[in-house]
Symmetry: C2
Subunit: 418 residues, 2 copies
């Protein structure tokens, strides 16, 4: 068996630990240089493969690659670019195979969420048909935690830790001030249509904080919500609200699309938090503060979960090892062996069962009133936020995050328009 | 000299390290129990003194007091309650002295910003006149960093570190995605009329990030701002914008003005980020994301600056030692001995020179174009964010923050309406 090259790409929204998976892939490939000569990384994800813009990772030092484990975001660039179906856009899939062929790429490691699992699956099928078989392995990543089969998705644990800790800290702040000032603090969190991240905010209940969680899985009921907040403020003097960006009215309209206007007459775009906060002020009269964590939450490598970093690395490592064991069209998964103490191992799932399947939060993870999380949910969540994994800091007091040299592999093919 | 009691209160917006000052006060007082029998803490700040709602800190364990050093927010409760002038509200000042007299309180440690320095000063003057002299020492605290004489204010360094690190992390995220998705990230920061916190966001320029900072000290010029953002996006592919909540138009109107005011009559700010982001989208067409960190930034004990924690403690400690050396009507200060290496010591300022004086950011800390910080500003800021001082975490993966027992001292006086 002569050595082939591998192609690695980051896909979709990046996370605090996707580079830890990249580190796992590249470090493991380097241990098997007899079989994997080089890992070419797509500059800006799959677009790099289509445009033949490949980064030569052999030109990155061992130390820089090791530091990927502690660096947030996508060090090679990512993209939001979903390949259409094979029928609609065979041209792009064929281009991918051409690029792989031109650069002797026998392994395709695609690091992303549901869409990229689907692309990965198709590449594996088509390369077979086109007579240049490529082993396609999907490395899971998504803060939305919505991939099937795997117990959890790298990226989620760190966001969950960030939201749980930040909500706790801000709640302490409100508790301090509530006598004469702010009584309600609203924090808006990511997660699209899945309430996993919002659920992490619900953990602060265990730390004595009165909290109301608004999940995308539960239709927003304004009266019931305001009554819940009012009851908490009357009992505790204050209340924290965790609202998911995907929270919506019964007609499907997002809370963030309220149609409110600021003092300049501009439509207030985005922001379920200010909508909820103003609703509370207008109806209950409580003084509020609100925060929208946005990218801060998924980039917060400074507060990553150690479980999450370790799993992200292990899944990258496993992807390479599974490829070298001749597996194809699969995704390594996290298998939970036990919650307390937390034990996990690496499993594997066929991409045919992963592609286009969205894992929803079980409804029995949400309390009956729709505003909190159950003990079962807490048992699921805590292991994922366990442990810290701090980056190093420089003498200025800033974290040492690495930037790749990003040297391009010389091109061999004609230009291609995406 | 027979032992007297001390009164300690937290005032105004709380911080990640104000409890470290409380820890410094209480631990130091305990070392001198021959002179300071007990530290009574005002429940919810000065309101606790007015209503005779005093927390008996001798009933808190040594360990709990020690853990204050790692716990954000105001553990005894704070308040936004500014005593009116002596002429307008002599009744409240006299009540304070009455309460102090009833509980044999000879020391008044008031932990806050400019308003509380003023109150502290007045109490010291009035108690003298009323024949029950109380030594009033102000312990500085404010994330706005706007107290005079002291080189910096506890609370600011940790917010600065949080904003610098979070802005860097989110910028890495945008950089990863900019090819096909978000090109401009806007983060809104606190600081009211002072641009110190916004300036901390400007540090990320040293880490290769194209950043535009909007200071409250610089009148907002929409065209110039949009041109600056556009130039960065054209050169780097993306841009980060750090906008201060106090940023305003030439006519003085805040970008964010919501029309509501807090109890001090200050306009309640929040929401400049979406205004700025939408302006960019409408004019330049760039896809954006925005975050409003709000309380998260000042509560983020998980990312406190070690310099800041140490100074907060040292100032609390110094307050007690200075009181025991018979100083009165003063504020311990941070004196910068050198920036590189960073060396500081504790000084002292008379309250007559602190009360009602606001320290503005020097204009030569802002670059000529008005959108960045100078080398002088960086030399000032870096020492303040140096070092980490992590809290401990429990087995769940959550930080160990302490909650006081908060047992009240039995009352001796009639009720008092505030």
């Amino acid at each position: 068996m002569t050595a082939k090259n591998a192609f690695y790409a980051q896909s979709g929204g990046v996370t605090a630990v996707i580079n830890a998976s990249a580190c796992g892939v590249i470090e493991t490939a380097r241990k098997h240089s007899d079989k994997i000569a080089n890992v070419y990384a797509g500059r800006n994800g799959i677009i790099g493969a289509l445009t033949e813009d490949l980064i030569d990772t052999n030109q990155e030092s061992a130390q820089d690659i090791a530091e990927l484990k502690n660096t947030p975001s996508g060090a090679f660039g990512s993209c939001r670019y979903k390949l259409k179906s094979l029928e609609d856009n065979r041209r792009e899939y064929e281009r991918l195979i051409e690029v792989f062929k031109a650069h002797n790429i026998g392994y395709f490691f695609y690091n992303g969420g549901g869409d990229s699992a689907d692309t990965c699956f198709k590449v594996s099928q088509l390369s077979e048909k086109m007579g240049f078989p490529v082993q396609a392995i999907h490395v899971p990543k998504t803060v939305d935690n919505d991939l099937p089969i795997t117990d959890n998705c790298p990226g989620f644990g760190s966001v969950a830790k960030y939201i749980a800790v930040s909500s706790l800290e801000a709640s302490y702040d409100v508790r301090s001030m509530a006598k004469t000032s702010t009584k309600v603090f609203v924090i808006e969190v990511m997660g699209r249509h899945a309430g996993w991240i919002a659920a992490a905010g619900g953990l602060i209940e265990d730390y004595g904080i009165p909290v109301v969680v608004l999940f995308p899985e539960v239709e927003f009921d304004q009266q019931k919500f305001l009554a819940a907040v009012d009851a908490k403020v009357k009992e505790f003097g204050y209340c924290t609200v965790v609202v998911s960006e995907g929270c919506h009215w019964p007609d499907g309209k997002f809370l963030a699309e309220q149609g409110t206007r600021d003092d300049f007459g501009h439509a207030q775009l985005g922001g379920a938090a200010p909508v909820v906060a103003n609703m509370i002020k207008e109806t209950l009269g409580y003084k509020f503060h609100w925060a929208v964590a946005d990218y801060l939450q998924r980039a917060a490598r400074h507060l990553a979960s150690r479980s999450d970093v370790e799993q992200a690395y292990a899944l990258g490592e496993a992807a390479v090892n599974l490829a070298l064991e001749d597996h194809n069209s699969i995704m390594p998964t996290v298998v939970r062996e036990s919650s307390s103490p937390y034990k996990w191992s690496i499993g594997m799932a066929p991409l045919s069962e992963v592609a286009n399947v969205e894992k929803m939060m079980p409804m029995d993870y949400i309390t009956e009133d729709g505003f909190g999380i159950t003990d079962g949910c807490k048992e699921y969540l805590y292991p994922l936020i366990q442990g810290e994994a701090y980056p190093e800091y420089d003498d200025n007091g800033m974290p040492r995050y690495v930037t790749m040299k990003g040297i391009a592999v010389p091109r061999k093919l004609a230009d291609f328009e995406v």
